[in-house]
Symmetry: C2
Subunit: 207 residues, 2 copies
DNA sequence: AAAAGAATCCCGGAAAACAGGGGTTTTATC
DNA sequence: GATAAAACCCCTGTTTTCCGGGATTCTTTT
């Protein structure tokens, strides 16, 4: 009997998943949690074989949660569940130890397949995910950039529509410094204007 | 017996909704469709009392679908289902004839409440939605801006990270013209730089 | 504890975007 | 079929961002 824990903040979705998994005799849903904190607590008292984990949670990003869980309990297999098929998101999840990536528009039995596949030690990607990764070799693929505290702060202010000067005033630093951070953000995101940075940051839920 | 049709492109979500609605004796799910086109076709052969409609569909925006359905079948009540609680999205759905707006992180029985409430002729907003609308009087609230074909085209190119000159070259128009469109976009979105336009457009799924 | 690497800070000139003006052609509406 | 409104087009001067640098402090890693 494979023990599965669901981490997902949409109750209706949880209901759907439970229902689908119930239909398989070899799988047992041993718990469902709506945010990162409560799973981490629950895991201290006992571990499942597999965690089905939504990438977008209210309290912590799925990428980070995935990393934390894997650090503490390396035997637990993690399947990422997401609405998005952005390459960097997929890549970051896999780098952080996820064994599978399934889009939420997948059919129910795709999830069951995924569970059995990863219990066999395989890596499972749903068809749309594979499609998204097809013409990009995994080595060159860039993950979600790791940005610093200060950069994040500035990114958020830029996202609010403030100009460099307004940001400089607010943070009591020179406009040149703000521009320097702006430049580094463009560098890290691999683009050459702020607009693209904000667009990507918004896609990766960094704002 | 209240006949309900579900429009939602995530099969797992559909499964969850069906399961929840099944538990209520007065409600019957008479159909489920994954995109706008198939619902419109199905409606020609018979109408339900209520449509539970996801705002983000693969082929058409929920806002437009809502408008179309209401134009042809004004008696069908529509409840919008969404992950987002952005004011302009909520406002646009209600303006297009939706009678309810429920966030996907709502509990299952909230959906059932919503269905009964709107069948009684009420308007139903889930608690988080109400929260989002609280400090903004409905009159002043701005809807998602209506942008023209050309503007959309330019918005998308800007979103790709192209500069004004690159866009001008690609569309065989003057850079001045591109800047003019850019200006109008800022005007319509009520902001004063392109970055904010792209951020909002991305939130409203206009890209 | 030293070196390498990040992160935060600063500068000046070139290249864009922005603001505020005006004009013509489509598209609805009466 | 007139007319008003919207869409689309263009221009000039000012402001902001971009991009080439470089310096100093934190933080890791060895």
């Amino acid at each position: 009997m494979i023990k599965v824990v669901v981490v997902e903040d949409h109750p209706i979705m949880v209901e759907g998943l439970k229902n689908i998994l119930r239909s398989d005799a070899g799988i047992e849903v041993s718990g469902a949690y709506g945010d990162g904190k409560s799973v981490l607590q629950a895991l201290e008292k006992g571990q499942p074989d597999v965690i089905l984990m939504d990438v977008n949670l209210p309290d912590i990003s799925g990428v980070n949660l995935c990393g934390e869980v894997k650090k503490k309990y390396e035997d637990i297999k993690i399947i990422a569940l997401s609405i998005h098929d952005e390459q960097p998101v997929i890549h970051s999840m896999l780098q952080n130890g996820a064994s599978g990536y399934v889009l939420k528009n997948a059919l129910g039995n795709e999830i069951i397949h995924a569970i059995y596949a990863i219990m066999d030690g395989e890596e499972y990607l749903c068809s749309s995910t594979k499609e998204a990764l097809k013409n990009a070799d995994m080595e060159l693929l860039k993950a979600i950039p790791r940005i610093t505290r200060r950069e994040k702060e500035i990114l958020q202010l830029i996202g609010k529509g403030l100009t460099t000067m307004q940001i400089a005033d607010q943070l009591f630093i020179s406009t040149h410094t703000v521009e320097s951070h702006r430049k580094n953000l463009m560098e890290k995101f691999g683009v050459n204007n702020t607009t693209s940075v904000v667009k990507l940051a918004s896609e990766y839920k960094l704002l």
